[in-house]
Assembly symmetry: D2
Homo-oligomer: 343 residues x 4
């Protein structure tokens, strides 16, 4: 079968990485179109790739007849319009989180896609494609831990860009653990409480860091997440699931070369999400490309979390932001999924 | 100097272990008297030890002129009266937790001892004497982690005796982490919230297990504790302190022999607190005996947590039990320590 | 650029894996031709792949104008003739080890390729492409361990096929560590001694297992390798390099999910080389395909160990087999590389 | 029973540690006499201990009627005469290694003790009392690893005193692994080969470091030991036993506090044998004191390796020193143990 012609919209940090992997590592796909808010950037990228051109309007790129599928790495506020265009043109799309920036529009997208009757939207929760997360999920699914009961997570960044505020800890960092919790337990989150301990003296003034999130699922499972984005250490992401028959942890030994140096033994930690999850992104995009290419036969153009997952995560984040202010548990209310046929 | 003559009151599970260690491993001390509610048990123990006799009334044992110091391993409800007798007779005493069974009497003991002007009461929080906990505390004290900000704990038992109820998870299990938190941060706990997730299907009906405790210290440090007493696994106790300059964990590699067996690598986990903390108990008792022997010269007859620590832990437990019912944070109110001269 | 058209010769265990990865994961290449001693097997494979056909004679496959490059996964004794054909037709070839089955023919191939003045032969020592081995090599190259002095290796298989004999332990298992030693130290092996301890009672009669290999490099570095191919455990491959400024180990924590189950903690071990080195094979083939595609521009059609590496490994193996009989150190004599222009 | 009155001969590095532990930690024993080649040193030590006096002649100290048992921490060359005196006076003795400095006198001591018909001599191979070594031995004894087949050891020191030479690596460092090998396998060593790789550039001129020892037991088990005494790192001692049913390693995670600091995770390593084996020494001396006190009833005054073990280790060391010169395997010939009644 011929190669999938992909448009990448947004060639910033993540988008540029996607361009690179599609160009160099992803089997069965090639870059047909790139787009960016900064036109010159897109043109520069296109110039280096045989058979690829820059298109200045993202909606034109989506509509382009040379484009079979779209990767959205544009800023969140533009997602709604671009996703609607993808649905309108029947173009499969892998959308980096967030789905949209508010719950109402996210739900609207869920409904529109459901009306189409075709799964076209995949949301970029890449951790589901990480070998370790996948192995942990498989362990749970196989019943090795019995009924899962509790999950502990740590999400630590060495530093954050200027302007990163307390809400962004919830919307940009915690959102991954929200999806992980839903993925591991196979349930919705029904309540969230944000705890703000005394802040790290090294954190910028006004940034509540660390934060602790306390989640509860529909059947009463407990999840706690330490979010700490100014550790000065490295990118440390850890998850432990405690079940009826055992517990299992990932992210503990973050590098497999173990050194002895004067007075100490140990290993390196990945400095950023790129080193930690680069391979998960590869797997995600490869499996998405494979699914899209099989799509005409199967009617399914995704292989991973979909629009509903993006909507549910957004709803939990919104409740989390509310709890940031009160410190109290906030209930998460979702639409009735069963009533949306095809969601 | 002559050996310290010790009376052990209560020769049940813990008391019998203390008898054994004083008889076989503790330098500078010997058993002079043993006592137990079940007289025959005490007599049987005494019969096996040269120079030791059974005394049927605990208060007689305390008052006995052949007794220099007392180890209290009797049931909690009898502690108040026995500790008061120790103070009255000026006998140094190592009291297994709890100090007393309610906050008011615990505070009363703090005051009585303070009036005496001599530190005579040590409370048996043995974890402070464990090599790992001590190393972690030393690391914090040396500033290696910078300002400590967050502490995560897990406290897992394979099983509990019949009749163990939800309150006992707080009073008998969590009490250790409460002391550890105060020890590590050097601060009082000011608030506690108990979370009850969906229970372990394998837990006895009516027992809330697992439970999650969320503590906050005076300066806003966060502590969370997973309490899970029916894991069926082993005795797993783990603590991580996350600080401004780094994080440190103890209790992870619970046994140093690492095996490869068909399909798997790993090590054993200590089956019970006896294997995990047996050496900590040895260190605790040895250091206590050493301190008591030096006491006439120093005026201090303890080397470890004292009456105030027992009182403060009791106050947090009481608030924890209240939170068990509501699920909401409960403030912990302590007496003004500065106003109790010598506390 | 157009996709590289690859012929895979030999579609047994390893060859079939290469077919699968080229078909599904390797960017920039596609299968044009397959061949196997068992014609039906090749035809069956070809039938499942669009644009691929079976060719019954391996030399025809190599000569085929639709073939740009060759993957050799045929039995060792056929390699010499097939490699010569590749050189004759100027076809880049990735040859699974061994290069050839004896030292003289291996050297002959080195010379023939050198005469051509083009690097066309790559030998399939896939460990060099494993993330861990690559990281360890990078650590040494960066001087992090100072001068490397000693290397310890363990190479353990759960079981071996019937008919596996003592020589094959050297030729098929040890050969990988021989290449690893040359890769890590950047030096030739000049001496080898094989030690045969008392055999594993569970090993088949006549098989010397375990065996210990003791290697020495040109500048006197020491390498020891435990070879144990009937462990009944799993596929365990471990390497430690001890240097002037520190030591580093890979292969210790063989799986990153760490479980606590009744009485024990630990992780899984990869059952076979496929799980352990599957990703290394992917990297190897991808980088080889990339290099071959760049070849017309660069004049280099390899990206990894070449003919000389295959020859040097063969020479050490031959000496190892001799030492198997005597138990004494045997010197390894190599041709003078400098005298072979282009080797 | 009354306390055992102990004489410590030699109060240098190890002797002073024994004085300290007997004075502060060993139950059932007290220091009666100390002796040292430097009289003032002994007097200074005695002055600080109630009931202890300095005796200037070691043979007088052994003969002293106030001395029940002797700890020998004097230089090796004086051991023979002092041990003979202990036997003559019927005084139980714990002798730090070596038993004596040559094989002939060591064997003579074995015979003398055997003639007495009472086990009076224990040799200070303290590793047998280390929790990890003991656990590994117990694992083997319980058959958990099946038939043990191979043992790998590393013995690394950060630095050595001036004047430490290549022979001392065998006699003072390797001697511990020789005893460990005999302990684990329960067999004699019958052959030893010393390999001298290219030396560590940081080692003093003339010191062969690292060295590799290759041992073989009576039934053909293989042991290799890396000896590296100028690592600049820490005191790292590691042992792996590979058996028919599994393998087990000790000394890997050398400290149980695990830290994350900028860019790295890991733990501390014990800086010297004192931190690594301090507790093993405590256990050794406590068990020896207990055994000596039970001696009059049991007729056995040791609880650990005896004169024969000291002799056998000396014989292997002597062969090792011979191999240092030739690089070839040297056979170890021991006296016929069965012919020495009571050895």
């Amino acid at each position: 079968m011929t190669e999938l012609r992909v448009a990448v919209l947004g060639v910033g940090l993540i988008g540029a990485q996607h361009v690179d992997r599609i160009e160099r590592r992803i089997k069965g796909a090639r870059l047909a179109v790139v787009n960016d808010y900064v036109t010159e950037k897109a043109e520069q990228v296109a110039a280096g790739i045989v058979g690829c051109r820059a298109v200045s309007d993202p909606l034109d790129a989506i509509a382009d007849p040379d484009v079979d599928a779209v990767v959205l790495a544009t800023p969140g506020p533009t997602h709604e319009k671009q996703l609607l265009a993808c649905l309108e043109h029947g173009k499969p799309v892998l959308c980096e989180k967030p789905l949209t920036t508010d719950v109402a529009t996210a739900l609207e997208l869920v409904k529109r896609e459901a009306e189409l009757g075709r799964k076209l939207i995949q949301v970029g929760f890449m951790r589901r494609f990480d070998d370790e997360y996948a192995a942990l999920r498989a362990m749970i699914a196989a019943g090795e831990l019995g009924e899962p009961l509790v999950m502990h997570c740590a999400h630590r960044n060495p530093a954050v860009p200027q302007g990163f505020n307390s809400e962004m800890v919830v919307r940009d960092s915690l959102v991954h653990e929200i999806d992980v919790a839903r993925f591991m337990f196979g349930e919705e989150i029904t309540s969230i409480q944000m705890v703000k301990p005394a802040p790290n003296p090294a954190a910028p003034g006004g940034l509540a860091d660390p934060q602790i999130a306390i989640l509860r699922t529909g059947t009463g499972k407990h999840v706690d997440v330490e979010l700490f984005v100014t550790t000065g250490i490295a990118y440390e992401v850890r998850t432990e699931v405690v079940g009826e028959k055992g517990s299992a942890t990932i992210g503990l030994d973050v590098n497999l070369v173990r050194k002895s140096v004067p007075g100490a033994w140990g290993g390196a930690i990945t400095p950023s999400f790129k080193e930690r999850f680069g391979r998960a992104f590869d797997t995600e995009i490869q499996r998405w490309v494979d699914a899209v290419r099989r799509g005409p036969g199967t009617g399914v153009y995704v292989d991973g979390p979909g629009a509903w997952d993006g909507y549910a995560a957004a709803a939990v984040c919104e409740a989390g932001v509310e709890s940031l202010n009160t410190g109290l548990p906030v209930a998460v209310t979702l639409a009735d999924r069963d009533s949306i046929k095809g969601a």
